[in-house]
């Protein structure tokens, strides 16, 4: 990185790519005017889009290298400043900054993003909106990079909204079908609720500190404790910001949009709804860790919400038949883990899990996409089975992802999840309960993951052989899978637990960012686990993962009988879990339908009857009056003169006597 202005190119390259793909899309549309099946120049779109992301990736690596070359406490690269809003005392600038945390996020976003772009080139081939898809995807990467790189909360919010917009556009990508459009709206509305909370939090921060610059805020937090009122406001601000995170990162109570978001193309689910966007909340909390660590209550709230979300998400995945729904609820659950880690003050562990999750969940989604692709758009696992013979490459990589997700020993998910649980356990007190929930969820996770693998790749072939001919996906799709599989397997090396007597690479790397938060937490006492205890926890985690993975696999490798028996014998339980603890149903019953009723009443009774009645009545009155009055206007000069005269007399009388 020569000059700091080069930093701007990391987000701008995808933006240019998005613009170029948009133009290509319009050119394609123009070509289709003459020939409905014309491809036009749409074949260029993936090349442009992938090149843009590749450029970003290379620049990110360069930035990463430069950052690594600096001294640990000076690892910050700032870009040129763009003055944005200067009103009175409020100065809002947009500038980019790379520090260890954003460098990690950069690598994830551009790295996984690049792989998913490549995969999309194969997956979306032949879609009428091929170029449009890449335009949206590039725009998403731009927004995500702005979110990650921005040096101020307002710039972060711009990216935050940008990813929300792209998420909406991509969920509803196949809007012609109807329900994807509705799912997109649902996601957008849920995010709005969170974003309102986010904004309120930002306003409080402006009120408290007079700035939205993230590093300024983080340093200013230390000075707040003097004033109890300010401390109270800071707690409220942190909770409001966390409210924004619950929307974006699909936590209780705002998580129900994420399963519906599976209506979008599968690469979208992998990129946005597993690897990057939904982790924005985790990033925000780590980025502003002093604000959240300031009041331990806030962290407890975050941890509790995270643990509950993990449990609800995990259990909801158990009986899903749609392979993407399983992964969606799994994502909700894993995000819950990350927030549990944040709630325990384990910021580095949460980021560690974020990274490994990006690898293995991206991989699983892409693998599921490959399966869906090979099965001619079939997503119901009950109609799959035995696919390992038909798509071996997908099978192998999917196995790697599943193993990582379920936390089988020595894979990436094992280390990251275990680290979070270890930190939670170390906290003690109320956190024992959260740890218990985490352990239960770990068991559930292993179970549903291997159920999914068994149903999809093992057992009898339950699909109709006359109509469905499963086939392996092209190299464009399985090569990214292979890369992600390698990362999923080896990703654990980033954060080996202390018992291995090696440096926790990620924790060490993030130390400059997380130090202020840790310093605040240290005031409430530190928590250290003995090596024996850590070994015990690792062993417990490994045993639970292996045991329940085996249990889930054994149960479902035979076929779908278990699902059917549960459905038969315990229909209420199955309904409850498939419906995600009926939370969405409650939303519909308590909020959506009453709102629709109010809207209907307003539309039909208030608007059509009362307001339209008034308006039409006014018009009708004027018309009726006019119809009567026009009889007076007989066109005779004399009668006009008479009226004028009478009016003049009346006016004169009025002036004289009134």
């Amino acid at each position: 990185m020569g000059g700091t202005w080069l930093l701007w190119f990391i987000p701008l390259l995808p933006l240019f790519g998005a613009a170029a793909c948009g133009l290509i899309h319009f050119a394609t549309l123009a070509a289709r005017k003459h020939d409905a099946n014309a491809k036009g120049p749409s074949g260029l779109a993936p090349v442009v889009a992938c090149a843009a992301i590749l450029g970003s990736l290379l620049l990110s690596i360069a930035a990463f290298k430069q950052l690594a070359g600096l001294a640990a406490d000076a690892r910050v690269i700032e870009s040129a400043v763009w003055p944005w809003i200067h009103v009175g005392s409020l100065q809002l600038d947009i500038s980019l900054v790379v520090d260890p945390l954003s460098a990690v996020m950069l690598m994830v976003v551009t790295g996984v993003g690049f792989l998913i772009h490549v995969y999309s080139a194969g997956y979306m081939k032949g879609d009428p909106g091929y170029a449009k898809f890449f335009a949206f995807l590039n725009l998403f990467v731009f927004s995500m990079l702005m979110l990650v790189l921005s040096s101020s909360l307002i710039g972060l919010f711009v990216g935050w909204e940008g990813v929300g917009l792209c998420s909406y556009l991509l969920i509803g990508f196949w809007y012609e079908k109807g329900w994807p459009a509705e799912a997109g709206q649902k996601a957008f509305i849920f995010n709005r609720v969170g974003d309102a909370s986010f904004l309120i939090g930002s306003f409080i921060l402006i009120k408290l500190f007079g700035t939205l610059d993230l590093s300024d805020i983080n340093t200013a937090v230390a000075s707040v404790s003097a004033d109890p009122a300010n401390a109270w406001w800071l707690t409220i601000a942190a909770l409001c910001l966390f409210g924004g995170c619950t929307g974006k990162s699909a936590q209780i109570p705002l998580f129900t949009w994420l399963p519906d978001a599976m209506a979008g193309p599968t690469p979208v689910s992998a990129l946005i709804h597993a690897a990057t966007m939904v982790t924005a909340g985790v990033y925000l909390v780590v980025r502003m860790n002093p604000v959240f660590a300031f009041d331990p209550t806030v962290l407890t709230v975050i941890g509790t919400i995270g643990a509950l979300t993990a449990l609800v998400g995990g259990t909801s995945a158990i009986f899903q038949r749609d392979i993407k729904k399983v992964l969606a609820y799994s994502t909700v659950s894993q995000l819950g883990y990350m927030f549990l880690g944040l709630g325990s003050g384990a910021f580095a562990a949460a980021i560690f899990h974020l990274v490994t999750h990006a690898f293995f969940k991206g991989l699983l989604f892409l693998g599921a996409g490959s399966v869906i692709h090979g099965m001619h758009d079939e997503q119901d696992m009950h109609k799959m089975g035995g696919l390992r013979r038909h798509m071996p490459k997908t099978f192998v990589t999917f196995m790697a992802g599943a193993a990582a997700l379920s936390g089988l020993p020595l894979l990436s998910g094992f280390f990251s999840k275990d680290e979070i649980l270890a930190h939670t356990f170390a906290h003690g007190g109320f956190y024992f309960v959260l740890w218990g929930i985490g352990i239960v969820t770990a068991a559930v996770t292993a179970y549903y993951t291997w159920r999914m693998v068994a149903l999809t790749f093992f057992g009898k072939e339950r699909f109709d052989h006359h109509h469905v001919h499963p086939h392996e996906s092209p190299a464009l799709m399985w090569v990214p899978l292979a890369v992600l599989a390698v990362l999923s397997v080896l990703g654990g090396a980033l954060g080996l637990p202390p018992v291995f007597h090696v440096v926790h690479v990620l924790e060490h790397w993030l130390e400059p960012v997380t130090a202020p938060g840790h310093a605040l937490l240290a005031a409430n006492g530190t928590h250290e686990l003995s090596h024996a205890m850590e070994w015990a926890l690792l062993g417990l985690g490994a045993a639970i993962a292996l045991g329940f993975a085996h249990f889930g696999f054994r149960t479902y490798v035979k076929g779908v009988e278990q699902d059917e028996s549960v459905q038969r014998n315990r229909p209420a339980l199955a309904d409850f879990l498939v419906g995600a603890w009926k939370i969405d149903a409650q939303y519909y019953a308590k909020i959506v339908y009453p709102s629709k009723l109010v809207a209907f009443v307003t539309a039909v009774i208030v608007d059509q009857f009362a307001i339209d009645g008034l308006v039409n009545g006014a018009g009708g009155l004027a018309t009726a009056t006019g119809n009567r009055l026009k009889l007076l206007v007989d066109g005779s000069l004399k009668s006009y003169a008479l009226w004028i005269g009478a009016g003049a007399v009346l006016l004169a009388l009025l002036w004289m006597f009134v």
């Binding site: 004399k638 009668s639 003169a641 008479l642 005269g645 009478a646 003049a648 007399v649 004169a652 004289m656």
Partner: protein, 179 residues
């Protein structure tokens, strides 16, 4: 003396006015109007407005009423107009009766309004004109010069309008001059 003259002239002006309204032939109306204007001109003189009295005679009697006479003669309405209207009564139609009521009402309102005013008494001797030529010229070319110039434009516009309205259409000539 002047006061008596004023009341006599007032009565005459009103009577001539009624004559305008009630005369059967348009020619008689014009002549009555002429009488009414003369009476008014002398009242102006008595009130001290010498220039206005002269203008009243010159413009109204000399120009406008002659114009009326020309038109009546041009259209040969001297007798026809009288025949067209029912000569015995103008008040036979409802609208005419309403019109009469309105006119009376307007007169009553005007009288009432005038009687409610409480003016200081003024006294202007005959011959002591208020509007000496110099004074009125100072006003017209001074404070009112803009209005005065605008009036010239109004006159010009009137001339154009009158020519446009009154001149025979070309096609009319070809038709054999139907007008």
């Amino acid at each position: 003396m002047a006061e008596i003259l004023f009341y006599v002239l007032s009565a005459a002006a009103l009577l001539f006015g009624l004559g305008v309204v009630l005369a059967k032939s348009p020619m008689m109306s014009v002549l009555s109007l002429l009488g009414s204007f003369f009476c008014l001109a002398i009242i102006y003189l008595l009130a001290g407005f010498q220039f206005l009295a002269a203008a009243q005679i010159l413009v109204y009697a000399g120009a406008i009423l002659v114009l009326f006479l020309f038109v009546i003669m041009l259209l040969n309405l001297g007798e026809m107009g009288a025949i067209a209207e029912r000569s015995n009564s103008f008040l036979d139609s409802t609208s005419a009766r309403i019109g009469a009521v309105i006119a009376v009402g307007m007169g009553v309102v005007g009288l009432a309004a005038a009687s409610r005013a409480a003016f200081q008494p003024v006294r202007v001797e005959p011959g002591t004109g208020l509007d000496g030529l110099e004074a009125i010229a100072t006003e017209l070319f001074g404070r009112y010069s803009l209005a005065f110039e605008a009036a010239s434009i109004l006159l010009l516009a009137t001339i154009v309008a009158v020519i446009a309205l009154a001149k025979r259409q070309r096609r009319g000539l070809k038709d054999g001059g139907r007008a």
